[in-house]
Symmetry: C2
């Protein structure tokens, strides 16, 4: 029996000022996980969320993760918030994951403008509101709900995989569904569900060969500069159109079947709108299907920067003695991180041999994460699809994402159950960037979607 | 009549502990010109030096330079210390220039280890000691001495050229000789005098094309990355052996006459020692003459870094939206900065056209300084040579320097008199780097050399 939610949804619409106030409070807490001076705020955010969950009847515990070394200091890790709402043996159990902090501290005029509003404090609060709305209207939740909220996702979820491993047979026991609302719609109007994520392999390319920084006036022209070598080597990694030059890398990509290719035809995606949203004059490809394939099911290589060189404004006359180039490769099925690491380091070494510099070259892989794909006919996925249709009146697009959410794989492996990625925010929320925002409409409809999803799980 | 300095020199040797103590005091003052939080220390250093000069009878004034904008703050500029020791109309006047601060703040274990000991607090204190030694021994100085000591050389001598311009007909009037002890010996044993300096042209290469930093997961592979373009463009500037690929640049170098080339034969310079001092495995050339020519009378191009990209330790997943590459070209006679700027920007634009990226490319010249060469038969230069021979017993090598000391040109132009660059420190002092030091021996012999030089000026 389907509960009629018409009045509840109207009530949620009318409750907007309260929803907004709560998000304002949450975003105002500067829980920047990567900044040791903000660690107390990150911990405060977890406690703040704990109080909110307790107020809706959740039994909460704070799992201590010990300490970490950050910028030369030993700092306390924020605890992970584990919550249990309902322990009815006759109901299935949904596990909800979310995180409570911004990806990076991007200052603009001294303010952390909106960071967290969409990624991921907004969606986390949607869960809270959805359950509050059910309680207010005496709607019984058809599933038990467990929460796992952390404060360190954007700094690599330090300690969380180990905690989950330890909790496999206790907190994670009996979980039937997992839902993560930590990704985005493909566009700004039509909802979607995410069935695939790319993995990642990070790389460090170190070049040295002189024992300390040198003055370019005194030494310029008579030494082999590590930074000149590094930029030359990195310039051999991609073409101008951002295709990867490492031999054999594309060969590892799973073949695209005609059936899968056909699913791309119906996906609503406006290339011109996408191009304008990033502010580019042209894109390497402006064909919808090719572009989506490159974002979701092809590897890509991005340059991030250089450690050890001058980075400030103005001029400098130093020849840096040791520089480390940073780049990463997004990977897709059936690419294996080990194989990608091997081929990449092999190519870098070959390019280095071509360079013929007497400097010291040390390429090495950094962290990696596997790609992820899920069965779109799974009951959890279908419950999400029905919930979206109920709120938005349209069938959501089935999409993939170019980025990695490594915890997805962890939950899948430890619970043995399917994970649903249920995005609530619009494509232009610009999470992780200077102007992150969350639309009022997405936020409010997000509450409704999560409520509908929980109820749909009753028949999943 | 030459004053016998044997006893005076012995006295100077015996006075080492006092010399050391004074240098310890001076180096301990953290007068880092580029750091606004250390500005008070930079000002304190100028006052400290003023007291020392007054104690030897110098009439001092502090020339106010107003304020500057630094890291978004308006900070007071340290005053320039102008001192006059003697106003005897029957004597010629020597103007001594020096600076009182480190080139850059290089922290090692939290300490500014030795910075300033050789560049340039050490040599400045040698002047002080030399005059003290003369006074103690009742040796009359054959010249009036004026001092111009500043605290901002390593941050571009902000305001000093303008001050000197204003002082042209007052403080600078009547100056007959200028001496700057702010460079280094070619090796570690044999003294030398510097008759040439390279100039510099700095460049900024900006690439943008997306309106804000993007997440490499979401956007990797479907945009033209500014940082990939930038590294590719910069990789076209030099060969692996650090030769410049900009067409026509070497053509502007003054031809090397057979006579000039011959002067290189006698110069004492150990290539292996030089190579080991920088810690390199090999150098682009290990032929003594070719190496020295490349350092002193050929242009060179050095990479300094990138502004706008990730520069911290660890990993990041950002695609930077706007990056600025920094490099500089050292120039020699007869290269003109305007011509170098024109050819370089032209080449960059040509390379950019080859790249074929739709991103936005803005190469632009930064500051520039002309090269400088002086007549080695000039009376000031010869007085310096006699002083060195008197102290060290050998004829000093006549050398050039790869770096720029722009104030040299300013003094030459405003006084119309020759400037002597009289180096006191050893080649391995590693000024501007992490381990700057000044040898005890060089420091003590430096005092003697400057005393002998002042006395030699009596017959110049």
């Amino acid at each position: 029996m389907t509960v009629d939610l018409t009045n509840v949804f109207q009530q949620i619409d009318g409750d907007y000022e309260n929803l907004k106030e709560l998000l304002r409070e949450a975003v105002a807490i500067q829980s920047v996980s990567g900044d040791p001076s903000k660690r107390d705020e990150t911990i405060r955010m977890v406690h703040w969320m704990k109080e909110k969950l307790e107020a809706i009847g959740t039994v909460c515990e704070l799992a201590d993760l010990g300490t970490q070394e950050l910028e030369g200091k030993t700092v306390k890790l924020p605890p992970v918030l584990l919550g249990t709402l309902g322990t009815d043996k006759n109901k299935k159990t949904l596990l909800v994951y979310g995180h409570l902090e911004p990806f990076e501290l991007v200052e603009k005029d001294g303010k952390l403008f909106g960071r967290g509003s969409s990624d991921d404090k907004g969606p986390v609060l949607c869960w809270l509101h959805a359950i509050r709305a059910a309680q207010k209207n005496n709607i019984e939740l058809p599933v038990n709900v467990k929460f796992c909220f952390e404060g360190m996702e954007e700094s690599g979820s330090v300690g969380l995989p180990e905690l989950l491993e330890r909790e496999k047979d206790r907190f994670l026991a009996g979980v039937d569904f997992v839902c993560i609302s930590d990704s985005y719609w493909l566009g700004t109007k039509k909802p979607c569900l995410t069935y695939g994520l790319r993995g990642i392999c990070s790389f460090f390319v170190e070049v040295t060969g002189i024992k300390q920084d040198l003055h370019s006036g005194v030494f310029g022209g008579v030494i082999h500069e590590p930074l000149q070598d590094l930029m030359w080597v990195m310039a051999q990694l991609t073409t101008v159109d951002n295709r990867i030059k490492i031999p054999g890398l594309y060969d590892q990509v799973a073949p695209l079947s005609a059936a899968e290719e056909k699913t791309y035809d119906d996906i609503e995606f406006d290339v011109a709108e996408f191009r304008d949203s990033v502010g580019a004059a042209h894109l390497p490809t402006e064909d919808k299907k090719t572009l989506l394939l490159r974002r979701w099911r092809e590897p890509s290589l991005a340059f991030h920067g250089i450690e050890g060189a001058f980075y400030g404004p103005g001029e400098k006359t130093v020849i840096p003695s040791k520089v480390i180039g940073k780049f990463s490769i997004r990977i897709v099925p059936d690419m294996e991180p080990e194989e990608v690491n091997r081929r990449t380091v092999e190519y870098l070494n070959k390019v280095w041999a071509d360079r013929g510099s007497p400097n010291i070259f040390k390429p090495r892989p950094g962290h990696s994460a596997k790609p992820w794909v899920v069965d779109v006919n799974d009951s959890n996925f279908l419950a999400g699809a029905r919930a979206m249709k109920r709120v938005h009146g349209v069938e959501p697009d089935r999409i993939r994402e170019g980025c990695s959410i490594p915890i997805t794989l962890t939950f899948q492996e430890l619970t043995g159950k399917s994970v649903l990625l249920l995005p609530l925010g619009a494509a232009d929320d610009m999470a992780h960037s200077q102007n992150e925002k969350n639309n009022k409409w997405n936020y409010v409809e997000g509450v409704k979607t999560l409520l509908a999803y929980i109820l749909e799980l009753g028949s999943a």
